[in-house]
Structure formats: structure tokens, C-alpha cells
Symmetry: C2
Subunit: 454 residues, 2 copies
Amino acid sequence: MDQGARVESLQQLQQVFGDRLVRDPDLIAPYAIDTSRAVLRGAPLALVFAESTADVSAALAWAHEHRVPVSVRGAGTGLTGGAMAYDGGLVLSLERMNRIVGIDAENRLAVVQPGVITAELDTACRERGLFFPPDPASARMCTVGGNIATNAGGLRCVAHGVTTDSVAALEVVLADGRVLRAGALTRKNVVGYDLKSLFIGSEGTLGVITEATVRLKPVPPGTPRTFRASFDTLEDAGRAVTAIVGGTAQPEVLELMDALSVEIIESFYPSGLTVPRGAMLVGQTAGLDAAEKAEGITAVCAAHGATDTGVSESDALLEARRLSNPALNARGLKISCDVGVPVAALAEVFRGIAEISERHGRRVSTVAHAGDGNLHSTVEAPDTPEGIAAADRVIDDITRLAISLGGTISGEHGIGSLKRHELPWQLDEAAIDVQRAIKAALDPRGILTPDRAI
Amino acid sequence: MDQGARVESLQQLQQVFGDRLVRDPDLIAPYAIDTSRAVLRGAPLALVFAESTADVSAALAWAHEHRVPVSVRGAGTGLTGGAMAYDGGLVLSLERMNRIVGIDAENRLAVVQPGVITAELDTACRERGLFFPPDPASARMCTVGGNIATNAGGLRCVAHGVTTDSVAALEVVLADGRVLRAGALTRKNVVGYDLKSLFIGSEGTLGVITEATVRLKPVPPGTPRTFRASFDTLEDAGRAVTAIVGGTAQPEVLELMDALSVEIIESFYPSGLTVPRGAMLVGQTAGLDAAEKAEGITAVCAAHGATDTGVSESDALLEARRLSNPALNARGLKISCDVGVPVAALAEVFRGIAEISERHGRRVSTVAHAGDGNLHSTVEAPDTPEGIAAADRVIDDITRLAISLGGTISGEHGIGSLKRHELPWQLDEAAIDVQRAIKAALDPRGILTPDRAI
């Protein structure tokens, strides 16, 4: 179908969306990109703002009929180019589907539309003594729908798992516009295939999530404590993390920032952080014994070489940690990874990253959701084609290192459009074939976020 | 392909399996059925005992080539006819793939073959201070592979979730014999579709699990406590469960037996259980504050009408609870359900079951994994076609009631061959279509456990 015919067919869509269908390129532009370094190619045909499941269904049915590629857009905080618009494609924004439909405190469930901001859901739940466990660093900007589409992780994963662990049921619109429900309100449910988990983390390639029923947890009693520990080397910090995770006092959050990261964050948003020689661990404990657990954890840190530790009721340090991505963006640093390793391999992966950094002659800063072994290393390089290529080689080496240690190429950001070349590093041929077969079965015309994620 | 040609083609398989290929119907018989009331139709062609992934791959490649239906067999403890052999089919036994490959205490992971007995894995882990959370009542007989194939639940679900929550990675042989790995050793992993979760609970219809990497948890310190509380009515017990689950002191296990169940269990294995007027809750707490939590829970029970409560260091009561299925089987009672409801709906579902029982004039006994809302109700009826039909009508009504309360038709047993007629009661047309499309994509010749689960 040529562009002219596509434009003509838009009249159909206009009848459904009225002035919620946008064709002005300037108005579309901010919805056509995400937060990654991916570059928009060509020009999208139109942007529609869905306000209901019926809207999403109409948009996809139209795209299916006319074979128009669709990019799906929450808040655009993605880091792998998953929501980038397509040339001649439709941009489907879910930001107006931002209603918390209900909170069922007795069953600890909430029903939400996909465009609800993650932190706003959490805040609403806390008014009922509950909280929403998933906690990506971008929680104040990103949406629950985006979290589900990428199976987002975040800071509280060490204690509460990833997004999929908190999703009970989904409403999904399929590529051809049909509506499907998957999952159940009950903890146990073995009724046909686990379609819910299949859609979670599928990055918009199998369906569009239009409603989610999520699981909540009770807010632990008492005042949380934030702890910190500085180390002379990253490897010491890595060994301390392994010991903490294997110990009796378990944190809610356990993050690591290396010296360069602390420097970058502190210069972006000065909060009095002391730059460590090697790395700093920051974390949080909760419950009536939060103080006791925090002291226990800092004692483990001291036994593993921490030079300076502290426990506080203020969570300013964690707030600083959450700023690492904006701080890196402000410096134009976007060549990074999202690898994961088993926690017992942390010291080894840090040693390897230092070697890689030295071998390539490039400075690398690393922040990590250390408690679950998920690392974000960013390479300093000039913003030139040569600089980017050099930085990419560093990231490739770090990624292969993580895999060699039993790890993953992506812990929480997903594959999007930027990491597809890495898929065969982790997945065998049969797994890649099966994923393609599933994609073909669910989206035979290949209109939904094509050529991404798998 | 006619039976003669199938038999001839068996020579190929014989070359791989030698005397591990069995054709004697008497030797095949015990491997051709499960623990449900499903009836074997026709005669299987052969039984093979796989000892390796390569064996499974060879068996499936053969079946794929010759279009022979395959039933997959762990310990045969299934309750929905999922492992029943097919007429002219191949029975693939995994009972000899029963090795614990390794336990990685530092990363809290174990690698196991599918035929490992669930309780034996748990015991091996406990020697390292860890435990395997999934805990079906049949843990001493069933296999980890079977647990994964049905996403089994069990007693500890209220605290530790279902099997899928404890599976990190799988090795799976596809219908055509190809081998695939899914999942990762890390807690976070967003790399293509979540094939691991797709295979979990797929009841042998999408692939055969040949190795699993499972997640372990540290054994809580201290001595667990078992608590009990008797109630005059099931509804009171249901309300108490809702209050306990919503309270601060959380149990590891929270089970319910109604009066008739206690009577049936006690007559099967006398252990001095006192039959309550309505129902009995039995559960367990763990951790250094286990005693305190147990007292807190029994206090909640008392506040909700418990007539008699107790706390003990002996877990004899839980052992009794685990015998409910053998006790029912010993009476020839096999017409039962596996429904689930949100925990806040427990009192209502119990009231409804009493009404249904009365309306049909049939006694119904109910045991429940009450903490997660999963109920097993069994109908007393004569073992005649009329009796069975009458009992089925009772189960149908209970199942529809559970769905009307936001519940599920199967919490942990799966659909197998016995419950497929119930699928449209819970799933919409699009979900059923998508499941069939996935089945067709992964097993185009329909040889793997055909006509079951979906």
C-alpha cells in the first residue's frame, strides 16, 4: 500500500478519533521517539490518542486492514528504541488511558489503565496501606503499561521481584483488534497457556495492554532505614553484595554506584554525596526491625572491606541513585548496557568490566541494582560515528562477559530496536524460531511494533 | 498411518532405546493412566524410558516423523487425565531422569532433571539450609517435571507462590525433537518472549521439560509452629481466612478442612483429629517469631468465631491434611474440583457450595488451600453412570459459582482431558483462539499430548 492510499484510508480512523487523530509532524514528533539513542527514520503517518479499549481496538483493526506498522507509546521513557515511530506508521499513544479503575484492598489488587504513572499508582495504594512493588528508577515518569510491556525491574526487585510478579491479569488488544483477557484474580490459575506472561515483556509486539489487574503488598510497619557503605574497590563491593543477599538480614533495596557514577550524579544534582574510591552501596530495609537489619547489613559490608558505613532515616541517597539516568543523559552519555549476572558473579563481572575499560582505553561508569545482579554500565566516548562505534565495542564486550558468567543481555530495559543483534548471543536457534512462530501466529501481518524485541 | 506401519517404524526407536522400549501391555498399563477418574481408551503402542535429553529428542523426532501421539509421564499423580496414554500412542516416561544435577547455594539455584521427586529435592536443599518452595500435597510422590508441566500449587503457595514463581530456566524438547533453552539464572531477564512461562503449565502440549533450574529460598530460622482453629460454620472459617491473609502475621501455610473431610481423613488414617462442627483451619508459621505469629493468627480466628484453637510444634495436623486425596481415593471419591476464588470471597463461596449441595441432595466435602483461595470439593455419589452424572452436575455448579465470584476453574491441577468443556466458561474466544494458534505454531502435527489442556 502506498503512502497516498494510506493517507486516504485515515478518514476511517478520523471518524473514530476526531481531533484525537493528529497529523501535524511537530505535534507528532515528541511521541515518535523514546529516551534511548535510537534515531527516527522517516516520518510517521499519524498519531492517535486512545481513551478506551474500543479506541485501541479500532486503531489496530484499521492498521491491520491497511497493513500499517504501529508503534505503541506510554511515557516514552524506554531505553532501547522500542517505542520509536515507523516511517508511514501509526503512533498509538496510551497516555490518556491513565485512570486507576479501582483498588480492592481486601484482595490486594488494583485495576489500572496502561497510562497510569507508576509512582502515582504506588501513592494511591499507600493511602490504603498497600504498595505497588515494581519500582523502576523512572517510576515518576513511566507508565504501568510500559512497565508491563518491558517487564520492568527496578530498585525493589531484590525483595519483590519484577513487574511480572505483580501482574494478576491483563486485557489486551490483539493485532487485528480483537480483545482478549488473560490471567486471573487468584494466585493460582492453570487454565490454558499462560498468555498473561507471554504478553508481559513482549514489548508491544504481540498485543496492546489496555487494562491490568496488579497485585499489591501491605506497606511494612515502622520507618524504613537507608544504609550506605563505601568501598575502595568495586570487587569488594561486589563480594559484600553476594554476602548480604546470602545473609539473614534482607534489604528491600540494594544498589551500587561506582566512583564515576557518584561523580556524575553529584555534578548533575549536588546533594553532598562523597565520592568513594571504588564504589558505594546504598540500600533500604523495612519493617519493625528495619534499623537492626540495616546495622546487620552494614556490619556485613564492614567485614567485606567497607571503609565507611552509615544508617539513616532519610532516603536522600536513594533519591540520588534514581537520578543516574537523567544525569548521564545530561552529559550526552547514552551508550550503555542492561546486563545481569547471578549475584555470586558480581565481583567477577566488576573485575572484567575494569579490564575491558582499560583494554579499550574508555572510561566506564556503572550503576547496578546490585541485589539482583542487574548492571547498567555507560561508556564515555565522543558523540561522533567513531566514538559511538568504539563505545559500542566496549558494551559488546561487557555483554559477552555477562553471558559467559551465566547472565543476560537485558535485565529490565528489553531488546527494542537497539539490541536485536545481541539476541543470538543468549538465545539458541530453536528459541528464536519459536518466538518468530509465535509472533507470526498472533500478528500474521506484522503490524504491531514490527522488527523489534525478537 | 496405520497401526501396522507404526509398529514397523518402532524399529527406529528400538535402536535408540533398546530394552528401555517396552511393548508388553501389562508392563505399559501402570504408565498409561494417572490418578484421576479418566478412562484409558484403546491401547498404547509402546512405552519408552528416557534417560537423557537426547533420548527425549529421539522419541519426539520419531513420533513427529510418524505422526504418533505422545503422552508424557512423570509419577502419574495428575488429577485431570493429562498423562493418559493414547490409542496407538507412545508413552514417554521421564521417571529415570531423576538426578539432582547440582545445587548452587550461593545463587540459591538447583538444576534438576524432570523425574526428581519434589520432596527429595526439598530434602536435598534443606541439607544446605535452603528449601524448594512449591509444595503440592503429593510432594512425596510427584515429580518436579510434573509440577512444572501443571504449574502445581500446594500448601506453601500462600507464602511462596506457585511453581512458576520458583522456576528460573528450562530445557525443553519441542515436538519435532529440537532442544530449546528458556529463562535465565538472573532474577531479571527481558530477552524475547517469556517462553519459560509459556511452557510452565502447558501440560505437555508444547514441549517436554528435560531440565529445570529452580529457585530456592533460605530455610527460616527457628522452629515452625502449627496452629489450628475449629469453627461452627464454614462461612466463619472463610471470614477468618480473609482476615488472616489481610493481617500482619502471615502464615507459611493456611489450610481448611470441612467437617466431612476431617471425618474422611480420620477414618482413613486415624490420628486423633477432632471433627469440627463446621470446619477446621490448620496452618503453619515460620521464623524466629513463629510462636508469636501463630498466637496472633489464632487470636484472629477466635475473633471470627473459632470455638477451639491451638498451637503446637508438631506438624501432625498438616500431615493429616496431606492425606485428603488418598483418603478420598480410598472411598472411591474422585468427582472433585480445583476451583479458586479471591480470598475475600471465601465465605461467599462456602455458603454457595452448601446451597448447591442441598439443592442437589448430595454431600460435598471440601478441603482448601484457604490462604490462596483454592478449593477442592468432592461429591459423594454412587459409582454408576447416573451417580457420576449427578456428581458432575454438582461440580459444574460449584465451578460456575467460583467463576461468578471472579475465580478460576483450575487453580493447580490443570485442565488435562477432563476439564476442557469448562474452558469457555472462563476464557474468551480470542484467548482460546490464541492458545490454539500457539499450539499449531509449536506442534503443527499435533503429536504432543493432543486434545488436552487447551
